[in-house]
Each structure stands twice: as structure tokens, then as C-alpha cells.
Subunit: 156 residues, 3 copies
């Protein structure tokens, strides 16, 4: 029974057609997840899919659809880190916060539409518990020229 | 008596000549406030007043005074979100943190003077309990081309 | 004995050849550290050493080595703030998070190599307890034109 419940969110992922990537391998003296009390702090992750880093700049050769997809991929990587830290995604009680940084040209005003790719997937997966606070910020440079960087905090 | 106390911060706002705006309506699958234990995490809000979004770029047609005013308006919106979440601002035990993002030209060095508009109002309203940690960052793009985005966390 | 233990991290700093600077003096209505439960939130600090603010832009006259050094200096300033708040660095149970903002040209892809200057020192000093989550972000403007701004959270 417990085992069944412990597969709940992952079954949902599977039903929706998503596959968790490998957990991120930090490229420095840091870690992917840190637990303090019932809060799990995650390291920022950059957008990547099976083809590797999703790079580029919004407003310069990259579309809103590209950005939305990139933000969604960031969530999958965050969930992979979370699963590695917790053993199962079913220990998540609520998604608390999402900080989304969008690699964009100066004056790009649509970062919320990009970060919606993250928010929509979180609510699709976790329902109301997936509804989080967030900030969407346009920045001029991200690691490895990634299109999106995302950092989450969750409560367990 | 309780009712009297519960109006304390709002009376102070009124005395200082401020009016709380309507609470922000999230433009996506997220929420304005999330409570975990005694911490309240708020979503980032963009600068707006009665005339709508306060947009523009510091160092390019917008003055420090404009930025200071914009940061102060962000606090009022954050307080409206907080009141909606808590019922009353008098449950605030302390303002913990303020992250202020300033839409600015590259090399703009005065973001602290802009975010002072937020810090000054918080201390005016809450006294020592309003003294927070903060970060002021200059960025090249904010949602709806807002001049300032601000994100707060408070303890209750 | 307690006194001996309370000097552990500071002895380690001394052995490694580092000296804590004066704690930062906030230039506004905010504070350097805020304690809520067992979490200590620190204000963002800008890169500085004995010569004053370490200013400039990565990718435009400033090298990765300059950035790495600047990030390390930010940690020393954060530790000075932490010591001021706690009395001793030995109350630190773990370093939870590091947010590093790198003043850089658009498209600068190497911010992680800069923020490694912070991560490496934290692990050198605190061992595994110093291993944190982090986000590295390239931005176009920082207070006083600083090369790096860093914001930490720790658990005590």
C-alpha cells in the first residue's frame, strides 16, 4: 500500500508522458538539495533535455514556446534532484517557491509566459499543493548560456 | 481590544497617507502567498500604482526618485497580498527579507538607493520588526517592463 | 573547552591564511542578519577586500580569477556578518544556500566558475556541513558596480 502511494506522483508523470532525467551532477563544491526541518532547498538548475543544454536568448532567435519548454524541463530536473534527496516525490507536501531566471535581451517583458512552463507542470502534477509563489526575472547571462535557470523550494 | 490591535499596522498606514491596493491577481498557475510554519513566502510583485504598471529603465529616462517610489509601491502590493493571506497585517512578527530587482541599464550602480524605497516604508510601518535583510540587483528585463520587482518573506 | 570549540572555525580561517573583515555596515534601513528559528538569513554583500570594493564586469576587463577572488571575499564578509549576529561561527550547523550574482557582459556563460570561489572556501572551512545549494546568475548591474554580490542562508 505504501509502495503504491509512493509511486503516485511518478505514475502521474508517466501518464502525462514525462520521464525524469538523471539527477543533476553539481559542477562544483555544492549539492543539489539541502534539507532543513521540513524545507527542502534545491540548487538552481539550467534548462536541458535529452539533446543537452537548451541554450540561447529570448528575444533573439528563441521563441516563447522554446522558453516555456525550457522552464518545464527545469522542473523535471528539479524533481529528479528532489527524488534523489527524498527517495520518492510523494513526500512532497507542497511546492513553496519557484525562482525563474530567463536569459533574454534587455527589455524582454514576457518572462512570466516563459516561467508558466514550470508553474503549469507543477500544478498538473501536484494539484493545489503544486501552487507556489514565484518570481520571474529577465537576466543577461546564465551558466552555459542556458535559456532558463530555475530554483525551487519545497515543504515535506 | 484585539480588534483594536488588529488594526494597528493598517491605522499606521492610514496615518502615513498610504492606501493598500487590491491584492495582486497572479497571471499564471501560482499564488500570491504560501505559509510554511511561521514563515510566509510571497510571490514577486511588479511596481504599480493607481495609474497601472510603473514601467521603464533606471539610467534611461527614469530617475532615482521614480525608482524609490516604485519600490515603495511594491511594498504596498506585498502588504495587500499579506493581508489577504493572513486576514490582518498585525500577525506579522518580523519582516525577514526583501529581494529587489531593478530594471536598469548595464552598469547602473545605484540599485540600493532604489530599494531604499521599500526598506524605508517597512521600517516606518513596523519599526524594528520591519528591519530585514535584503539584496538589491540590477537586471536587464522585468515582467511587463516594470521598473522594480520585489519579493518579500515575513515571519508570523 | 567550550571556548576552545568556539574558536574552531576561526582557527581554521587563520590557518588557511584568511582574516575576517569588519562586518558590513548596511547602507539603508535594513540589517545584515535576521534569525528565524534555526535559520539565519543574511543580507546580500558586495565584493570587497582591504583595497575597497572589487568592481568591474566579467567579460570586459575582469578575469575569471578576479571573479573567483571576489566571490571568496564575499564569503568572508558574510562570515563577518554571521559572527556579529551569532557571537561565534561555531554555532553554524550547515551552510544552506548561496545565491551568487555576477556582474557580467550579456551572454557570459561562466558564472559558476566565479561562484566556485565562494563554494570552495565554504567547504574548505566547514567540510561537508559547508556544502550548500546555490544559484549562479549573470546580471548587468550591481550596487557600487561590484563584480560579485552574494547572499547566504545558514542553519544553526
Amino acid at each position: 500500500m505504501l509502495e503504491y502511494q509512493q509511486m503516485r506522483i511518478e505514475s502521474r508523470l508517466y501518464e502525462l508522458g514525462y520521464v525524469l532525467p538523471l539527477p543533476p551532477a553539481p559542477g562544483g563544491n555544492y549539492t543539489s538539495a539541502k534539507i532543513v526541518g521540513n524545507l527542502v532547498f534545491l540548487a538552481g538548475v539550467i534548462s536541458a533535455d535529452e539533446q543537452g543544454v537548451i541554450a540561447g536568448t529570448l528575444g533573439q532567435g528563441r521563441s516563447l514556446e522554446d522558453g516555456y519548454h525550457a522552464a518545464r524541463c527545469c522542473v523535471l530536473t528539479q524533481l529528479a534532484a528532489l527524488k534523489e534527496a527524498l527517495g520518492t516525490l510523494d513526500h512532497v507536501q507542497q511546492i513553496v517557491s519557484v525562482n525563474g531566471y530567463v536569459n533574454s535581451v534587455a527589455g524582454f517583458a514576457e518572462s512570466p509566459k516563459v516561467i508558466n512552463g514550470a508553474s503549469d507542470l507543477l500544478v498538473e502534477l501536484f494539484g493545489d499543493a503544486g501552487r507556489h509563489v514565484r518570481a520571474a526575472i529577465g537576466v543577461s547571462a546564465l551558466p552555459r548560456n542556458a535559456l532558463v535557470e530555475l530554483q525551487m523550494m519545497v515543504a515535506i
